[in-house]
Amino acid sequence: MKNKKFVRIVLIPVFIHMIVFIIMPIVAGLGMSFLDYNPLRSINEFIGFSNFERLLADDNFKIALVNTLVFVIVTVCINIILSLVLAQLINMFKSNKTRSLFRMIFFLPCVAPLVASSVVWGKSIFPTVNGLANMILNALGLSSVNWIGDPSMVMISIIIFTIWADIGYNVILFTAGLDGIPKDYYEAAELDGANGFQKFRYITVPLLGRTFAFVTLMTLISHFQMFAQFSVMILRNGPANSGLVLTSYIYKTAFETKDMGYASAISMVLFIIILGITMVQQKANKVDWEY
């Protein structure tokens, strides 16, 4: 009603905070991308769109861009499909104990700091000679794989790791989503003559829409921003830059090459990509029903 005072008391500090800590830095970042910026210098030259022009000619940027897109799209797809299947399998158990046991196991990797798991995987699982992965392969009579040394394998390895590390959230979200679908629909479908797969295809998948939209959105956003495994697990940018992604390229450009203006330009591109993809995803996943 007329009680706008409370709204103001709550929202004004919040938006001031947002302006200071989020919006200003974005604007500053945008500004920096037009400068030949080095914060140690007191005067930084305005160079217009040069940084962005440089992007167009930068092979490494292109590689990083392609790698990022490949990484995000493949990982997110596998992540979603796999977590959906796992959730469905978990939900087939009636016992709550069994369910929460499995949910917990799948969530464990999410509990650990990504850096820590990256160290564990990079130093003791993926190495060709000393790694657990190859030891297991060898024990099964398969030959070793050069997980993070072979340019064609690097991304695959990182994807495997990322899925391991991140799938737990989605498994839990999907099991919860599945629990939320009223049982009636399955019974109605059963009487309509649907078999197990048909129920999954025609009832579960579409009715999970809302969860699905939410999960894909969050997963997309977080995967675009992943950094730790790329910086910790692989040597430099990986063989032939096969592990170079935008986030690590930004970090490298800013803190190793110390070319902050250029780094800002790249991060602006990343921002726009994320914004664009999430908007498309939101449109595509519009859900026009509810139970």
Partner: protein
């Protein structure tokens, strides 16, 4: 550490360095000695993990308040920091002393507009020495190679393969630093050069092609090692593999010795040795870059006291003691040639011999430099270029656009 009594009018200097047990101890000992002489100064140390150190230094320099008074600075960073005014210039007397009495590669990158912005502690030598696994060489009855031909033969002989995978690598020079420094040094030892007067690069020369082909051949034709040192994938670095008994020879700095002794519990002189790496061409000449140095924060209000600490370091007996404690190759000619030094670090002998032949690699960001050379090397070795010509032409292009933007 001495108690930092707030009430006393002691000047407290903060010192940042990267973590290394031996080094950190040596710094603290130096500081204790210094404090004994200068009772008005106290030095507080902060040591950071190596892989955080660079960004720490950088961000702290951005900050007006935070940061240290004295930094342990990788010489190469001077190129980025010195021009911005973030570092304080070294005083004139010390500058003169350095310019006269220190090896040129150690301070080349600390120079900016005729001023020095750091005090070089060590000569970072990436060419000239290698570690060898005595047990492997003995088993194969291979003697320590004395010239390039012998090196190539020894490498081939030492190599053992099981199908596609290595049992023993003969000569593993493929790592982030060695490829670049072998390549540049091979050019120089043939009497060639790779950088022009104006700072641009030309690797595509007679000498360059020969050297590049030679290096690639060792991987592709001779198969004495593979590219994993650059591409990653193996848990251990090349020299660690040598300690682990799967590699015979690895060109690396003498700092590797302590790790062999400590982590792998091997005996120097028995299990492994440090020997000269033969030159490729006729001329004894190689490229070298900086090493660790000490620098003073440009914003520090205590830069005078800080500078005194640097001067203290510069005294020969202190430097000698420090270099030995850290197993560093001295930056100071005087210290390096001091017989006392070789007595204390006998394994440094093959290096000390050739220090005069070292030349400053050039005033540019060596990380990018190495990155591009390694990139092209990997690509060429895996058949990514039609000819060595193409590869080096591309390398020139890449370097010229990346470094001279």
């Amino acid at each position: 550490q001495g108690s930092s009594d707030e009430n006393s009018d002691k000047t407290v200097l903060t010192f940042w360095g990267h973590q290394n047990e031996a080094w950190n101890k040596a710094y603290e000992e130096m500081a204790a000695k210094f404090e004994a002489e200068n009772e008005d100064i106290e030095i507080k140390f902060e040591f950071f993990p190596y892989d955080q150190f660079e960004s720490k230094v950088q961000t702290s320099l951005l900050s007006q308040e935070g940061g240290a008074d004295i930094y342990e600075l990788w010489g190469g960073w001077g190129i980025d920091f010195a021009p911005t005014g973030a570092l304080a210039p070294i005083n004139d007397t010390l500058t003169k002393e350095i310019l006269d009495g220190y090896y040129e590669p150690t301070y080349g990158s600390l120079m900016f507009e005729e001023k020095l912005y750091g005090f070089p502690l060590e000569f970072n030598i990436e060419y000239g020495g290698m570690i060898i696994n005595d047990n492997i060489l003995e088993e194969k009855s291979i003697s320590v190679p004395q010239n390039w031909e012998e090196l190539r033969t020894a490498a081939k002989n030492a190599t053992v393969k099981d199908g596609d995978t290595f049992v023993t690598k003969g000569f593993d020079f493929v790592n982030w630093d060695s490829v670049t420094y072998m390549f540049t040094s091979m050019i120089m030892s043939q009497g060639g050069s790779y950088q022009n007067e104006d700072g641009t690069f030309t690797f595509n020369t007679e000498e360059g092609r020969k050297a590049f082909q030679e290096l690639t051949d060792m991987v592709v034709k001779d198969g004495v090692t593979d590219l994993s040192g650059l591409t990653g994938g193996e848990g251990l670095e090349g020299y660690q593999q040598l300690f682990a008994g799967t590699t015979a020879m690895v060109p690396r700095g003498p700092w590797t010795i302590s790790e062999g002794e400590l982590s792998f519990e091997l005996k120097y002189g028995e299990d492994f040795d440090y020997v000269s790496l033969p030159f490729y061409g006729e001329t004894k000449s190689f490229a070298a870059e900086t090493g660790w140095s000490l620098a003073v924060n440009g914003n520090s209000k205590k830069s005078d006291a800080a500078m005194r600490f640097l001067e203290f370091f510069a005294q020969e007996e202190n430097l000698l003691e420090f270099n030995v404690a850290c197993a560093q190759i001295p930056a100071s000619k005087e210290v390096a040639q001091d017989p006392e030094f070789i007595k204390k670090m006998p394994y440094a002998e093959p290096l000390v011999k050739i220090l005069d032949d070292g030349h400053f690699v050039g005033y540019f960001n060596t990380d990018t430099f190495k990155e591009k050379i390694n990139e092209v090397f990997t690509e060429y070795a895996t058949g990514g270029y039609a000819s060595v010509d193409d590869a080096l032409m591309d390398l020139d292009k890449k370097l010229n656009s990346a470094i001279n933007k």
